[in-house]
């Protein structure tokens, strides 16, 4: 069992999410930085879909009641065991040990996998906290306890290196389905910055407004992960894991890989590149 001593501003349980329920209005959810989650699980000896913790900017502090093997990936942050900094991503925590993930100095989200996984109750096939729909386990709060699952006996995967975290990111976009509603040259021509309003639902961008080529309202339609939705003010929003399943603003294009946005801090410069 794990006791949460300091939950941090937003620490949630995440796995690979709950695809397959979008027709019921249930978002996919899941870790924002899937490669970092996979890497943490492999380092901890867990299968890929095992639930781990996702922290936001300020980390968290946890006490482990039983000995545990833990791996921390994602944002660059100091990890301490019983107040002493640890060197590698894998930490053997003794019974009663206190592990702290500090403030992220690069990137935003850290992933903490524990051998055996975070064994909260699965909801619709996933242990992910969905911040938009309110499905899945509660976000972590100080004093809360988390069950740890049974260690499965190790996995043969190579964890590999973490993704680079940049001050500037470039996102590849495939235009459509509603690119004909816009002057698309505007999207590729100018840099945007990540707004502090960004969250697990979407990365809000600020910059030169994307201008409409036609007026009118779009009847609600299904949207996918990475969709670049352009509301009436022309400032794009890139949909992340907790995005709504349908939307009424037209989608100019879809980002091929949203992972860099999971670690992009407010103020990061974003440029779009045409994948066609």
């Amino acid at each position: 069992m794990i006791t949460v001593l300091r939950a941090g501003p937003l620490t949630t349980v995440q796995d690979l999410g709950r695809p397959g329920y979008a027709h019921l209005g249930v978002p996919r959810s899941g870790a924002l930085d899937i490669p970092a989650l996979r890497r943490a699980n492999r380092l901890a000896g867990n299968p890929d879909g095992t639930a781990a913790l996702e922290t936001t900017l300020m980390g968290c502090r946890l006490r482990f009641e039983a000995p545990a093997t833990v791996a921390v990936t994602g944002a660059v942050a100091t990890v301490k065991l019983d107040r002493e900094p640890v060197s590698g991503p894998v930490v053997d925590v003794p019974a009663g040990g206190v592990l702290e993930i500090g403030r992220a100095v690069r990137g935003v989200r850290s992933y903490l996998a524990v051998a055996g996984g975070i064994a909260v109750e699965a909801v619709l096939g996933s242990r992910s906290t969905d911040t938009l729909a309110g499905i899945g386990p509660e976000r972590l709060a100080d004093g809360m306890t988390l069950p740890v699952g049974t260690v499965s006996g190790g996995v043969d995967g190579v964890a590999g290196d973490g993704s680079p975290i940049g001050e500037e990111i470039e996102l590849g976009v495939r235009l459509g389905p509603r690119d004909d509603w816009f002057d698309v040259a505007g999207l590729f021509g100018t840099p945007y910055t990540i707004s502090p309003m960004s969250n697990r639902v979407g990365a809000r961008l600020a910059g030169t407004a994307v201008t409409r080529a036609r007026a009118g309202e779009l009847p609600s339609e299904g949207v996918v992960l990475g969709a670049v939705q352009v509301p009436a003010d022309g400032q794009p929003i890139v949909f992340l894991a907790d995005h709504p399943t349908t939307g009424g603003y037209p989608v100019i294009g879809v980002v091929g890989d949203v992972t860099p946005l999971a670690q992009a801090r407010p103020g990061t410069t974003v440029r779009f590149r045409d994948l066609d």
Partner: protein
């Protein structure tokens, strides 16, 4: 029928009207059941059906599929929803419709409804069937909290709030039915294609 590309692994089928959306939705669900179609999510919208998580080559295969029109395919399951028509906005709805409150309730119980699509919140179904002329505008500002089970109207649709949430739809009544429950085998009571009848209590 026009198919639009959505990123690397999704497609959007555009339909001329909501009836055709339902035809395509039913056809695609059927083909997925039989193994002819591979798709992670099939999501109907107001005028479209989204296929998410499809392999390359799916678009070419869609061109050869012609869904059966509504008259010939199997109708969806019927759910009778017990309803008490005591909503705070019912008098306003009646006024917009230029009828008495009794006549407004009669219209609601006598109109066969169908789940067109879900969205906004898990299990929130957009029910179509009310004629376009009975379309009512959303409230100028949403209420901060609408209780679960509230039956409401907006923009030509009826809907039932599955959980308490903010909302700008006009409240006409409520039902004691649990609309969405994650621990139920079928978590959503009102899935796309389901026929709905409001039954006055």
């Amino acid at each position: 029928m026009k198919v639009r590309r959505v990123g690397a692994s999704a497609l959007l089928i555009e339909c001329p009207d909501a009836t055709r959306v339902e035809d395509w939705r039913a056809e695609l669900w059927r083909r997925r059941e039989t193994g002819e179609l591979e798709a992670v999510d099939i999501v109907p919208g107001a005028r479209t059906v989204l296929l998410d998580g499809v392999p390359t080559g799916t678009e070419e295969r869609l061109a050869g599929w012609e869904p059966a029109p509504g008259g010939t395919r199997d109708p969806g399951p019927l759910v009778e929803v017990p309803a008490t028509f005591d909503g705070a906005d019912l008098p306003d709805v009646a006024e917009i419709w230029q009828v008495s409150v009794e006549e407004a309730v009669k219209r609601l119980v006598e109109t066969p409804l169908t789940v067109a699509f879900c969205g906004f919140a898990p299990g929130f179904a957009y029910l179509r069937g009310l004629p376009e002329a009975w379309s009512v505008p959303r409230l100028p500002a949403p209420r901060p909290r609408v209780p679960a089970g509230s039956i409401a109207l907006a923009a030509g649709y009826a809907g039932i709030y599955p959980t308490a949430s903010p909302g700008g739809w006009r409240l006409v009544g409520h039902t004691p039915l649990t609309i969405f429950e994650v621990r139920r085998e079928q978590p959503a009571l009102l899935t796309p294609g389901t026929r709905v009848k409001l039954v006055q209590q």
